[in-house]
Symmetry: C2
Subunit: 315 residues, 2 copies
DNA sequence: TAAGGATATCAGTAATAATGATAACATTCA
DNA sequence: TGAATGTTATCATTATTACTGATATCCTTA
């Protein structure tokens, strides 16, 4: 009566996301051979093909796509059962592993951590700061429960929720003519010396597109994947950078730098919350997520009011 | 990472509904011993007790109840996977097994069967006419895909949906002074000789309550679990009966009987649609269900307009 | 106190899944 | 063209897991 089992669904999901039996086997700590046999079994039971095989990997059939959708839902519910256990056991405890893009390390994370640790002393918290690609990967293979990243191309196996839209801010040293917080039209600047995150970074791609589209004159570009160094560089030279509003908020009045919301048109960054598609959050994770989401939303609202270039940003 | 498996959930559901390992084992074609071990395993993995055992059976703990809810949902989704297969395979086919209370055998069932068979020639249909207890049982243990029964005490393991409310009609032979279709207040009648379905029948219980509550004078009661015989008896004697409006509709103008909506207060019967809680309908079943539901609703509406005793019925 | 019915346990057996090596095939690149 | 690499499928073996049937134990009831 019941053909499919959860192991098969877990395999199916992994294969669907990895587009490969071999890679999927690695991910679920099994052998390629085992997956092959299980999927074969499933296909025979159901009487239809789930994947088209080739020597370069596999592509899901229509049926495979359909089953993938159902399987992720089912697995999420099953994992919810396991999370229930802790909920039922009374106090909130466990371990929450969160990934954060560097933007939030200062303005957002600290207050949340403080509040959360005070409310739920029995929850172990682990926060990893990294760029989006790394975080997506880590969430996908279960090393992290969730992460907040700038929106970019969607990775399979993840469930994403839009959090907020933030302004990007043009940052320069104090030795310029512009007034602090005065909006800037980058395409009308003289050629820029820009320190930007390396290619592959989700924000970088969006910034590149912007620079090209609006023909912003560039003198030269330096790749810096470190916020601290970037800020330091900018404050002591004629190099400039573009940073998310939330990141600039804590030292909005720091005399070492001038901030200029980018306008005509506004350059923005979208933050998204990601979690595994086929797993449900533990209660602790759920509570932490709530806190962090709330904090990011209010911070972004505040950010827009302080740094935003009028109404055009919020849309 | 994944502790529970579908077999365990299936066992859990059966045990929860049967309140017994032994009975559940029978239902799922397994041994008591096997269930015992699987549930033990599950409990140990989750670290909490799901059932309190006694020598008379088991009662679910809070956790057991919680898991039961989740498990039924999960199993329903899993069974949906299997139903998808047929949907994906193109044409609608398969086998639909439906239970019907006798009320609908005539007025409702025939047109639905005709329409459905014409639209979906590849679907095998099997209809069973029986009383609610039998039908509930059959749906629970999977012999039927669904059934329509009068509402009564809920059986665990079933998902129910209210379909419509129908008037009960007092039926007599032509040899009375009342006008055909004239409403009747049973408590003002002279003592009745009533042919009613046997105890255990869901409608019977409701009728009994009504008769007691409103002190309807009774001469004597005969138990007849056969509609045909009942109608025949009533038309050729001074025995009377109470029947659902839908049942009377086909021969509303038959001179062999007089029909009288029961008022002060109206006596009604609720029809509910039942299906297994932890299984999803096949596409064929889904389509058949739609048809039958539609037909019953329109028939009841029509019934109320023809036989209904004013507004008080519809609430 | 005995009988009946419930669950738990245990050891043996049956069924199922994973493994590791290999085969077959396609792609890439020299 | 041919070797190297990387893919999935298959197979026999091993390991794991689940089921069975008998029995033990406990509780309720007569």
């Amino acid at each position: 009566m019941i053909y499919v089992n959860l192991r098969q669904l877990r395999f199916l999901v992994a294969i669907h996301e990895e587009r490969s039996f071999t890679a999927a086997a690695r991910r679920v700590n099994a052998t390629q051979s085992g997956l092959s046999m299980q999927i074969k079994e499933l296909e025979e039971r159901l009487g239809l093909r789930l994947f088209d095989r080739s020597s370069t990997g596999v592509t899901p059939t229509t049926a495979g796509d359909r089953l993938y959708e159902r399987a992720t839902r089912i697995l999420r519910e099953v994992s919810a059962i396991e999370n229930d256990v802790q909920t039922l056991s009374g106090q909130v405890s466990g371990r929450v592993q969160v990934g954060m893009m560097p933007t939030f390390a200062r303005a957002v994370l600290a207050p949340v951590l403080e509040r959360f640790a005070r409310h739920y002393p029995n929850v172990e918290i682990k926060v990893t700061e990294a760029y989006s690609a790394v975080l997506c990967e880590a969430v996908t293979n279960g090393q992290l429960d969730m992460a907040v990243v700038p929106s970019g191309k969607m990775v399979p196996g993840l469930k994403a929720e839009h959090l907020a839209t933030d302004v990007e801010v043009f940052v320069t040293s104090p030795n310029t003519k512009r007034k602090h917080l005065e909006p800037v039209d980058l395409s009308k600047c003289k050629p820029l010396k820009l320190a930007l995150p390396g290619p592959g970074n989700a924000r970088r791609e969006k910034i590149d597109t912007y620079l090209e589209t609006y023909q912003v004159p560039i003198d030269s570009i330096m790749e810096l994947d470190t916020m601290m160094a970037t800020l330091d560089l900018v404050s002591r030279s004629d190099w400039t950078t573009i940073l998310p509003g939330c990141l600039c908020l804590p030292d909005i009045d720091d005399p070492r730098r001038k901030l200029h919301p980018v306008i005509n048109p506004p350059l923005v960054v979208d933050y998204v919350f990601i979690e595994p598609a086929s797993q449900s959050k533990t209660q602790a994770a759920e509570l932490f997520a709530e806190e962090i989401v709330k904090e990011i939303r209010t911070t972004c609202t505040f950010c827009n009011s302080k740094l935003g270039a009028g109404d055009s940003v919020s849309g």
